[in-house]
């Protein structure tokens, strides 16, 4: 079996590794920052509501917990993204080591599929909360945009990941068959 270029020698793998480290750190930082906002929001909610009332904006008292819940879901999405990227990074490293067709990679791809599916499901309450908050903001004269697009791309990604998991599982079995062949 021909040896594949290592991570340090294949520019694409090296680039992928750097990009993955960067985005993992970015999403981790964003997730922590958003998560820290949740208790702050809940602690100061009465102050926030008082300020809004003083500005002449009557908003439901459930707004602040609603925003806190939205932030919680967003932090969860960031966490799922970090997990997804860590799994992808492990796969990239195994390619660099010249041995990607291992059962562990099939399991990683499967876990990535489930992570993407959970992420898609989490976007439903995020979208609903976002729409509700945007409506309240619009009622008080503020503009807030919510982008709710059809999750076709997400569905394709999930399908692709599960199919790739099967491809890698079969690849690992074929590799096992070939092991010991001279």
């Amino acid at each position: 079996m021909a040896a594949m270029p290592s991570v340090t020698r294949d520019p694409l793998l090296g680039f992928a590794r750097i990009i993955l480290i960067f985005f993992t750190a970015l999403f981790a930082f964003a997730g922590i920052a958003v998560l820290l906002g949740v208790p702050a929001l809940l602690i100061f909610q009465s102050d926030i509501l008082a300020e809004l009332a003083a500005d002449g904006k009557n908003v439901p008292t459930a707004l602040i917990p609603g925003i806190a819940l939205l932030l919680g879901f967003v932090a969860l999405l960031m966490g799922l993204m970090v997990y997804f990227l860590l799994l992808l990074r492990r796969i990239v490293l195994s390619v660099g080591e010249g041995d990607p067709f291992i059962p562990e990679n099939a399991r990683r791809l499967s876990r990535m599929g489930w992570t993407a599916l959970i992420g898609q499901l989490v976007t439903i309450p995020v979208g609903a909360l976002g729409t509700w908050i945007a409506r309240i903001a619009a009622d008080s004269g503020r503009n807030a945009d919510v982008d709710l697009s059809f999750p076709g791309g997400g569905l394709l990604l999930i399908l692709t990941l599960f199919i790739l998991a099967r491809v890698f599982r079969q690849g690992a079995e074929m590799r096992d068959d070939l092991e010991g062949t001279v």
Partner: protein, 67 residues
């Protein structure tokens, strides 16, 4: 394993080392050692052909079967 590999005897008769044979047939020393020690699970025809060419032998000289 019932299939025997008689590479040791052939190398001895031809006064060739395993390393020299590995270079001639284009196999790594590690893979040829796997074959020599009977740990190989399968052999490609191209490998068999190359070994028989370099050792001037028949496949039956290299492989045997013992129940």
């Amino acid at each position: 394993m019932p299939v025997l590999v008689k590479l040791d005897d052939l190398l001895h008769d031809r006064r060739m080392t395993l390393t020299e044979l590995a270079d001639k047939v284009g196999l790594t020393l590690a893979n040829l050692s796997i074959l020599k020690t009977g740990k190989a699970k399968a052999i490609r025809f191209s490998t068999l052909e190359a070994i028989c060419r370099e050792l001037d032998c028949q496949p039956g000289d290299l492989l045997g079967y013992e129940d």
